[in-house]
Amino acid sequence: MSQGVIEQSGAGENWGWVERIDAALNPILVRDLRVWLRSRRFLLVLGIAAVLTQVVTLTMISAAAGDPMAGRTLFYALVGGLASLMTGVVPWMMQGGFMEELRSRSLELVLISRLTPGQLVRGKVASTVVASFLFFSVAGPSLVIAYMIGGIDPVAALACAAALIVLSLLSAVVTILLGAVFSSRSSRLIQLVPITSGVVSTSSIVAIADPYEMGHVLGRPGTVQAFAGALGVLLVFVFFLYAVATARLSFPADNRDLGPRLTLSFLVSALFLVAVGVPLAVNSRAGYDVFPDNPIRSAATGAILTFTLLSFLLMNTPESPSTRVRNQWPGSWLFSLLYYPGTGRLCAYLASHILALVLGSVLLDRVFHPEGVDPSPTLVVAVIAMGLWATTVLAGAQLLQHMLRRFNLWRFGKEPRPLSVVEVALLWTLAGLVLAPAAAIVELDPISLLLSPATALLYLLAGLNMLGLESESADPGAAAGVAWILGLIAVPCILFWVHQIRKAAMETRILCRDRKQPPARPFEGGEDGNAEQA
């Protein structure tokens, strides 16, 4: 086959170091930075951040004159503000462009070049991180001033820097994943999702690290391990989301490597479990039990974790593979269940989740309680809880949609459509609000319940003492931190899961009787193509 561009980069050329660097740069990174640095919106936000930083610095210094801890207070205030920017605002700005690329299908043309989906995702993450560090640099002088004033523990400063980097990566990759997964028409509203993720992830770190008491907390046995473990978990999670986003951005023609990708997903899942389990086990040995001696809570946490992982695993499948591609992978008969619209897929999802619960419960129950606590009641409770949880969400979605249609509020456009991410997020928030009174009963932080309904359910069961659980934990702050992390992990996957169920229900016309055309999918047909499909 003759080929036009045979000239490969660098062949027979003497390059200077500038050209070498230029050749090594990710094209997406180059393009995004060019566009961002010309964007008035970006420059405006950067300018506002700079002004706010200076105002905060001057205000706090003047207000705390003579206070030996003024530097530390200023430092953590700046870090908190930066965390919000790097995990919320920057990904939000990035997602706007990414959604536009997906909507206009410009990414198709990028992906049929020599740029791989992996390079695309890496480029997007890199550009977000670089933009985040532009914001960081804005606060640089103030941070130096804070350090010079004194009162800052270098270890705590390093921990904060590490946390900021990880959070920036996590927010970027979550943003990309959400952009790649969801094809919501309410693109403006969907941009709120990364902000939520940013707030949740920042809260997680704050809850664990407790920066105002960093020195004290660091002195506790096991806390350093917990902090490192949490960062490790987040990093592994970043990698996992990266893999999923890459897969979601692949074309059907590139999805013939389904088997290896699923294998990779399993491996990453195992890594994930190790990353969670080891720090927790270390903590347990060190006498700083994140989870009290409570098999049911441990098992249910494991179940939630495994459920989350399996959900992502199940999501890591082609959007619309042809029968030809499906048949090319020998083990595809199992996963092909997922492709069949309607009840079959729904059942496959539910069955796999229940399986995940059982396996997860057994695994973690054994890890944390090797002495041998009878896992049977644990499993039953976990399965029932998760079943109730899923059913509640689905029923809630149906009810909400029914109400909206009943009062003529549903047809935002001309065509019926699936629930958007924001609507599902709203449902979760409502679920959290319902559970909040339970939090009051057991004196838990209601904010954590709102952010993590799954954890809320767990605490609800504990709080009601229905199952003979202990309602006290060794350290509510640390437990809430871990719960928040779990919630952070759970929220995007739950959103997608509900979205998938919703789509399956749409296809079986459970929720939408007058469906006229299939829901829009990324990378399927042009306008003409859609007309052809219709």
């Binding site: 086959m1 003759s2 080929q3 036009g4 561009v5 045979i6 000239e7 490969q8 980069s9 660098g10 050329e13 390059w15 050209e19 230029d22 050749a23 740069l25 094209p27 180059v30 393009r31 060019r34 566009v35 010309r38 964007s39 690329e101 206009s104 299908r105 410009s106 198709e108 043309l109 990028v110 049929i112 070049s113 020599r114 740029l115 074309f251 059907p252 023609a253 590139d254 593979p321 042809s322 029968t323 030809r324 591609v325 299939p518 990378f523 399927e524 047909g525 042009g526 306008e527 003409d528 193509g529 007309a531 052809e532 499909q533 219709a534």
Partner: protein
């Protein structure tokens, strides 16, 4: 640019979307040095076919071979020699023309001096020299289409697939696009272009495939398609100030001539379809004059691609 001679074969291509069969076992081929038109009404399966050729979709059955290499089994090998221009604008509005082309050149792993040379070539070929620093959002439709064509050629592909490239262009931009496509074919590239502007295709295409309801209705050269429609040559005859009954008399006279298949009335004369050659047609003209008909016009009517399209898709019969 290099001279390419790819042969693209579409073999038994089928693509279904649920119960709908968008493309139903179609076969056709096009080669380097040729502009191949792809014509069909809305929903005929053009875009689906082109997206499969461009490796953006996978068929349920059949395959597309680019020089014998399957786009289904080896998309990564085929993509470097394929250029696809979709029917939507992919343009990043916040970038300048130069940045846009530079981005795609980077995406195709062109670096350093090679990238600069390539961009220079593209800019010169598409006539975008004066627009390099202009933001994409401020380009006219024709300029954007030229930029899209530049993007298409970044990797100097041998096979170009263009979905409705002339849609929405003004006449001048259409002529420019037509000229560029012809030049690309002359370079040896295989060009597959779909369009609803059939007269445009007739002027630039060497061959045309007509698709309707997911099936190929015809695939031939322009001349071949015309012959397929008519079954002969259509000839228009006009007479000066026809007297009452003269046209009926003319009709009867023509029907008696050898090779004349059918005759129909027009405003000032008749049109007849003749399977005979030029010599026989000259004899018919001489016979008309000798018969006392005051013939003011006698010419062969060139039917256009539109006739073929309507005929083959059955729309003309309605």
């Amino acid at each position: 640019m290099t001279r390419n001679t790819e042969l693209v074969e579409v073999c038994g291509l089928t693509r279904r979307y649920g119960p709908v069969t968008a493309v139903d076992g179609i076969d056709f081929r096009f080669i380097g040095g040729q502009v191949h038109g792809f014509v069909g009404p809305n929903g005929a399966g053009k875009t689906t076919t082109m997206r499969i050729v461009a490796t953006l979709e996978v068929p349920d059955a059949g395959d597309v071979l680019v020089d014998g290499v399957s786009v289904v089994d080896y998309p990564d090998q085929v993509r470097p020699v394929l250029g696809f221009m979709p029917d939507y604008l992919d343009l990043y509005r916040d970038m300048t023309v130069l940045e846009y082309l530079d981005f795609y050149a980077r995406a195709y792993r062109l670096s350093g001096a090679r990238r600069r040379r390539r961009l220079d070539d593209l800019v010169a070929f598409t006539g975008l020299e004066s627009l390099l620093e202009r933001p994409v959002e401020k380009l006219s439709k024709g300029e954007r289409q030229r930029l899209g064509l530049g993007r298409l050629l970044v990797n100097d592909p041998g096979v170009l697939v263009l979905d409705e490239p002339a849609a929405g262009l003004d006449p001048r931009a259409r002529i420019e696009l037509r000229t560029l496509l012809r030049r690309l074919a002359d370079m040896g590239k295989a060009v597959l272009v779909s369009s609803h502007i059939l007269t445009e295709l007739a002027e630039i295409c060497d061959a045309v495939t007509i698709i309707d309801q997911g099936r190929i209705r015809a695939s031939d050269t322009i001349g071949g398609l015309r012959g397929m429609v008519e079954g002969g040559v259509r000839v228009a005859v006009q007479v000066h100030d026809p007297r009452p009954g003269e046209l009926e008399h003319l009709e009867l006279h023509l029907l008696e001539q050898p090779g004349v298949v059918s005759v129909a009335h027009t405003l000032h004369g008749v049109e007849f379809v003749c399977q005979a050659g030029p010599v026989e047609r000259a004899d018919i003209l001489a016979g008309l004059v000798e018969g006392g008909f005051r013939v003011t016009d006698f010419h062969v009517v060139q039917s256009d691609l539109e006739d073929a399209f309507l005929h083959l898709t059955g729309e003309g019969e309605a």
